[in-house]
Structure formats: structure tokens, C-alpha cells
């Protein structure tokens, strides 16, 4: 084995080039095997058509089973106009019919006719790609297996010599990859396609059995056949390289924005809203979507539980009218039962819709409904793909999840969602709180990556004016919700009223005391003034009395003729 990887050509089949590290071996034949209806013919044809359209490589398609007109018709329904490509000399179709019943074999022969035929077809358009579907039809056409086998060996060598990249399809065998063991002639690349039904849900899988001289994904990859061809979903080939946005978007619930530093979530983040039945998960999602539509952002809403009209009606009852957004084309619903098709099909439909509609916000309600059709690992990997895809396009993802666990406390974390939550950037939890003969909703933020967020529990209220988050009452009696909170608030108001009255009373008392005091002061003043008056009178009398006495004394002296 050389150190250098072999040269590859893009198959043009969505996802296949990711898991093969670039495509199929260039200038060599690859074998694609599978049971009936597994998509072999489509694989072979898409390889040719994508080669022409996307990579400018003309191609030859040789059909042993389907007639040319049927092929054209089948592929027209997938949007491939084969006639146009044929007219432009990019494509040749050839149908090789072998009817053993009208052929007699008398003596030795070889399949040089086939080689000449293929060679003529390749030369006709200068083909770089050749598909042969399905080569094993030769085995039913010719009796002499020894000749056939040596001719097949020669065919694969011949294809290699011609330097065309070829896809040869074969029917799956019981114990072998192909019924007639074609794989032993193809040294380079062998791919099997499989169509399995589990729990009544069909899943298609692709497996690279061998790819000599190349590193390739060894898993079985789910693939889909949709109206525009095959897409293989490489679960693990995506890396975490998406650019993180610093932009923040409001949630439509002002109080929640406040809890998120007052700015809301990061654009492009994935947000999990989990909670028990009837806790308002869908309502939060709808509010978020409503807010996004108000910002003139396109939204895509995948709903697995309700029909579009049912959801619109229900949301109207809490004051969220999404209908205008649907009418204006900003909001698109995709309502389907989870069991309608397989996880992979769901994923592909989602990715396709996202790719076409180019929304800024995607909501899935609820992801827990996917569990009946896939186990934890499958659902997780599907969501991982979806989230990664959304993130790469800076699309904000909203995922609701129904919690099974009813008997968990307010603060405990749901174990069932642990594995999904690690994919999410933010996790909001809604809970039913029972007590005092009623059920109330509590709301809390478990995590939000990359920001300081409130750790406070909030009471979550759905009113006809939308969602409100209220403080819960915390006191000596614990955390109170609902009417208990209202009652507590009432008590507080009562208390406050009482206190006010007390103050007023005290004020009045003080006032009257002041009046009393002032009265007393004026009384004292009056009394003092009276006394002062009397005193003045007395003093006046005293002075005049002295004057009289002095006068009298002088008069007496005069009279006695005092000698001096």
C-alpha cells in the first residue's frame, strides 16, 4: 500500500463524499450492492447525472433491467431531464436485453460484443463515468458460468484500462455481498445499500464494505431517497467548527430577557425547553417565534403533536396570534406525526426545508415524540445533525421536550433529558408544582452557555395576554405558588395597611400632644404676664410711696428748722 491516498472523484451523491473522504476511486470501478428496491439504480444514475451537471463529466448508463423510456420517466419525476442531457451529447443510455429463452448456446463464445458496445458508448460522448445496472443480469442471460466469470474479470480490468470511473451494481446475495460474488472482481471500492424495516418504520442504510487505499467511515450510514435523489447522512463527519455569534435576540418574554442579562439568548444557540405535560412548552416556543416574526425573521416550526390550525387556535387563547405571520410567509409550519417515517427521513425533510426556507429560527415541538421511532443514541445523533446544521447557518433552534418524570422535586434535574441537554446551549425547565389543592407552573433556567443568567425560580403564568414570569414568594413558609402566593401577597397588603393606620394614629396623637403642649405654654405665658403686671404695679406703688416718705421727711425737717 502506498502512502498516498488514491485519487478520487466526487460522486455528487449528497453526503457520500464526506464519508469516503472525497468520493469514489477515480478511473476505477466501484461495486454497489443491495436488495431489491434499495436504491441501486438511483445511486448509479445519480452518480452519472451529478457527474454531468456538477462536475462536467459526460456519462454512460447501461441498464440491464429497466427500459430506457421507463428510466427517463422515473428520473423525470426526480427532476432529472435525461432527454436534455442526451440531446446535449452528455449522456447515453443503453438498455441491454438478454432473453435466455431465445438464445441457443452452441460452443465457445466471449462477451466481446459487450465490450465493443460499451466502448462505442463511451466514445460517443467522451464519457468519464459509466454505470452498469445490474451486471448480474448477465448470469440469467448466459448458461456458461465459467465463460461469464472470466469475462466479468476481463470487464472490470477493461473498465480500469479505459480509465472511466464506474459504478457497477449487483444484487445482494444470501451470504455474499452479491449473488454471484462480483465483489471478488472489484478490488477497490465496495458499497452495500440496505433497506430495513424496524418497528414498521423503514430505514435505508449505506455501508462502505471496502475502500482500498483510502480512509473511509466504517459505520452504517442512514440515507434517504427524496425527490431530489439520495442523501447520505454522515452522523459523525461534522466537526464543531461553526462560528459563534455574539448577537443577542429577545425571547418575547420580557422577564426572561431580564433573567438573561437583559439581552436574551445568543443568535444561533440551541435552546431546550423541557417540562411535564401542560406546563407551557409550546407556548414558550410560540412566543419566541412570535417575537422573531415581529423582528421580521423567518421561522420554521416543526410540530409533531398538533395540526397547524390547532396550534394557531390554542396560541390565540393565550394572546399569541401567529396567523398573520403564516399569511405573510414569515412563518412556516411542518406538521407531521413522528411515526409517519423514519428518523432519518424526518431529519432529511427538516434539513431540506431549512435549506429551502432559510429561516432564522427553527422550533421543534416536541423532540421527545421522536423516541418511539428511535433509541436514545439515534435520536441524539439525529438532533446533533440538526443542531449542527442549524448552527452552521446561524439559525437559532428551539426544542421542546416532554418529561416523563412526574414525581421530581422543584430543583432536581430530569435524568431522561441529560443526554440531549449536552447538545443544547440553553436549558429551560418548566414544572408543575402541586400544593394547596392546585397545580401551578414553575420556571427556571438550568443553564445558558456563555452568559450570567438568573438562578431564580419563577412562577410561570399563561394568561390571555401571553406569558408572564412572576417572582415566587419566598418566606418562612417556603416557596409559594399560585393562590398561596396571592394569599400571601394579600396578607402582606393587609399588614401594610395596618401599619399605615398605626402611623397615622401615632401622628395624630403626636399632633394633639403638640397642641396640648402649646396650650400649656400659652397658659403659662399668660400667667407669667399677669404676675409680671402685678409686680410692676407693686413696684410702682413702692416707688411712689418712697417719694411720699422723702417729701414728708423734708417737710418735717423744715418745720423743725433743722440747723445745718
Amino acid at each position: 500500500m502506498g502512502a498516498a491516498e488514491i485519487e478520487k472523484v466526487h460522486s455528487g451523491i449528497k453526503g457520500l463524499d464526506d464519508i469516503t473522504g472525497g468520493g469514489l476511486p477515480k478511473g476505477r470501478p466501484s461495486l454497489v450492492s443491495g436488495g431489491p428496491g434499495c436504491g441501486k439504480t438511483l445511486f448509479a444514475m445519480e452518480f452519472i447525472i451529478r457527474g454531468i451537471i456538477d462536475y462536467g463529466e459526460p456519462g454512460v448508463f447501461v441498464a440491464f433491467e429497466e427500459k430506457i423510456d421507463d428510466l427517463k420517466l422515473n428520473f423525470r419525476s426526480m427532476g432529472f431531464d435525461l432527454d436534455n442531457l442526451i440531446r446535449r451529447k452528455k449522456l447515453v443510455l443503453d438498455h441491454i436485453t438478454i432473453d435466455r429463452s431465445e438464445i441457443e448456446e452452441a460452443g465457445e463464445y466471449d462477451l466481446e460484443g459487450l465490450f465493443i458496445r460499451l466502448g462505442a458508448l463511451i466514445d460517443e460522448v467522451g464519457a468519464k463515468r459509466v454505470s452498469i445496472d445490474t451486471l448480474e443480469a448477465l448470469f440469467s442471460g448466459f448458461a456458461n458460468e465459467a465463460i461469464l466469470r472470466s469475462e466479468l474479470r476481463r470487464l472490470f480490468l477493461w473498465l480500469k484500462d479505459r480509465g472511466v470511473t464506474a459504478v457497477v451494481t449487483g444484487e445482494r446475495g444470501d451470504r455474499t455481498i452479491t449473488t454471484y460474488g462480483l465483489e471478488e472482481y472489484v478490488a477497490d471500492c465496495v458499497i452495500t445499500l440496505d433497506h430495513r424495516v424496524t418497528n414498521q418504520i423503514a430505514t435505508r442504510r449505506l455501508h462502505i464494505v471496502k475502500y482500498r487505499g483510502s480512509i473511509h467511515g466504517t459505520d452504517e450510514y442512514p440515507f434517504l431517497i427524496s425527490e431530489d435523489g439520495i442523501s447520505v447522512l454522515p452522523i459523525t463527519s461534522l466537526s464543531l467548527t461553526h462560528k459563534a455569534s455574539g448577537e443577542r435576540i429577545f425571547t418575547g418574554i420580557p422577564r426572561l430577557d431580564t433573567m438573561l442579562e437583559g439581552k436574551g439568548f445568543y443568535r444561533g444557540s440551541s435552546i431546550l425547553i423541557s417540562g411535564q405535560a401542560g406546563t407551557g412548552k409550546t407556548s414558550i416556543a410560540a412566543t419566541f417565534i412570535d417575537a422573531a416574526c415581529r423582528r421580521n425573521e423567518k421561522c420554521l416550526f416543526f410540530i409533531f403533536e398538533e395540526s397547524e390550525s390547532q396550534l394557531l387556535r390554542n396560541m390565540k387563547s393565550i394572546g399569541i396570534n401567529l396567523e398573520p405571520w403564516v399569511k405573510s410567509g414569515l412563518l412556516k409550519f411542518h406538521a407531521v406525526r413522528p411515526t409517519a417515517y423514519s428518523l432519518e427521513m424526518h431529519l432529511s425533510v427538516m434539513l431540506k426545508l431549512i435549506g429551502e426556507f432559510k429561516p432564522r429560527v427553527v422550533a421543534v415541538d416536541p423532540i421527545s415524540n421522536l423516541y418511539p421511532i428511535g433509541d436514545d443514541i439515534q435520536v441524539r445523533s439525529m438532533l446533533m445533525r440538526l443542531i449542527d446544521f442549524a448552527k452552521s447557518l446561524q439559525i437559532t433552534g428551539l426544542f421542546t421536550s416532554l418529561s416523563n418524570d412526574v414525581n421530581v422535586g422543584v430543583y432536581s434535574v430530569e435524568p431522561t433529558e441529560m443526554h440531549v441537554s449536552s447538545l443544547m446551549d440553553a436549558w429551560l425547565i418548566l414544572k408543575n408544582i402541586e400544593g394547596n389543592g392546585e397545580r401551578n407552573r414553575a420556571f427556571s433556567i438550568i443553564k445558558v452557555r456563555g452568559m450570567a443568567h438568573s438562578n431564580q425560580l419563577r412562577e410561570f403564568i399563561l394568561s390571555d395576554k401571553g406569558i408572564r414570569l412572576l417572582d415566587v414568594y419566598k418566606g418562612s413558609e417556603g416557596v409559594l405558588f399560585g393562590s398561596a402566593r396571592i394569599a400571601q401577597e394579600g396578607n402582606e397588603i393587609d399588614d401594610r395597611l395596618c401599619k399605615n393606620e398605626e402611623i397615622e394614629r401615632k401622628k395624630r396623637e403626636l399632633e394633639s400632644r403638640r397642641k396640648l403642649m402649646e396650650n400649656e405654654i400659652s397658659l403659662l405665658r399668660e400667667r407669667f404676664a399677669q404676675e409680671e403686671d402685678e409686680m410692676m404695679i407693686l413696684i410702682g406703688q413702692d416707688v411712689s410711696r418712697e417719694k411720699v416718705a422723702a417729701k414728708t421727711k423734708r417737710e418735717i425737717a423744715t418745720q423743725r428748722h433743722v440747723d445745718r
Binding site: 443503453d94 441491454i96 436485453t97 438478454i98 431465445e102 438464445i103 441457443e104 448456446e105 452452441a106 460452443g107 465457445e108 463464445y109 466471449d110 462477451l111 466481446e112 460484443g113 459487450l114 465490450f115 465493443i116 458496445r117 466502448g119 462505442a120 458508448l121 466514445d123 448477465l138 442471460g141 448466459f142
Partner: protein, 113 residues
């Protein structure tokens, strides 16, 4: 050497007639070059025709290497391929025609004898 038939009509117009006027057989042998199988097939065919058709036959030899397009137009995969154009119905035999029994069965020649 194989006497290949030059300029064989590509449009197959002669199939519209059911029979040649003199009941002559028209046989067409497709080969790919002057290979051993091609030569053997031609020799065998000639011998059988002489033995069973007594000169009332025409053999057209088509070399696909000279005219590759005919492989597609005439649905030829294996070589040598012998096609009985006339009398109808068309019969097809592949191989170097070394198994005379099978050739006779394939050409419906037993009853002629």
C-alpha cells in the same frame, strides 16, 4: 479469412419481408475481429448450411470492431452470435457453433432434413 459483408444495411429494412422469393435463408454472423472463435464459427456455419440447406442460403458476416455501433443497434453482447433473419421467426445462437446438435435445434433445421 472471414468474408465480412460490406455496408450491411443498418436500418433492418429487409425484416419487413417474411421470406425471400426462392425460400433462401438469410443468416447473419456477428464477430469481433479475426479471432479463433470467429473463424471456427464461420467454418462450422458454412458446413451446416451446405449440409442442410443445399446452397439456398446467404451468410452475412458483420465484424463489430469495424462497425461498433451495430452492437448496440442489434443488441449483440456475446460473440460469435448467429442470427437467423429469414425465415421468420428470428433465431439467435451464440458460440463458435462447434456443437452441431445445438445449432440445428437453434435453427430449427431438423425437420428440413
Amino acid at each position: 479469412m472471414l468474408p465480412t459483408t460490406p455496408d450491411i444495411n443498418r436500418k433492418e429494412t429487409e425484416t419487413e419481408i417474411d421470406e425471400t422469393a426462392d425460400g433462401r435463408w438469410i443468416l447473419r454472423l456477428y464477430v469481433a475481429g479475426q479471432t479463433q472463435n470467429s473463424l471456427t464459427a464461420f467454418e462450422n456455419l458454412k458446413k451446416i448450411c451446405e449440409d442442410y440447406l443445399g446452397g439456398k442460403y446467404t451468410i452475412e458476416v458483420i465484424d463489430l470492431i469495424k462497425d461498433p455501433q451495430l452492437a448496440k443497434d442489434h443488441q449483440i453482447i456475446a460473440v460469435p452470435t448467429l442470427i437467423r433473419k429469414l425465415p421468420v421467426p428470428v433465431k439467435k445462437i451464440i458460440g463458435n457453433l462447434s456443437n452441431t446438435e445445438k445449432v440445428l435445434v437453434g435453427l430449427d433445421l431438423r425437420k428440413v432434413r
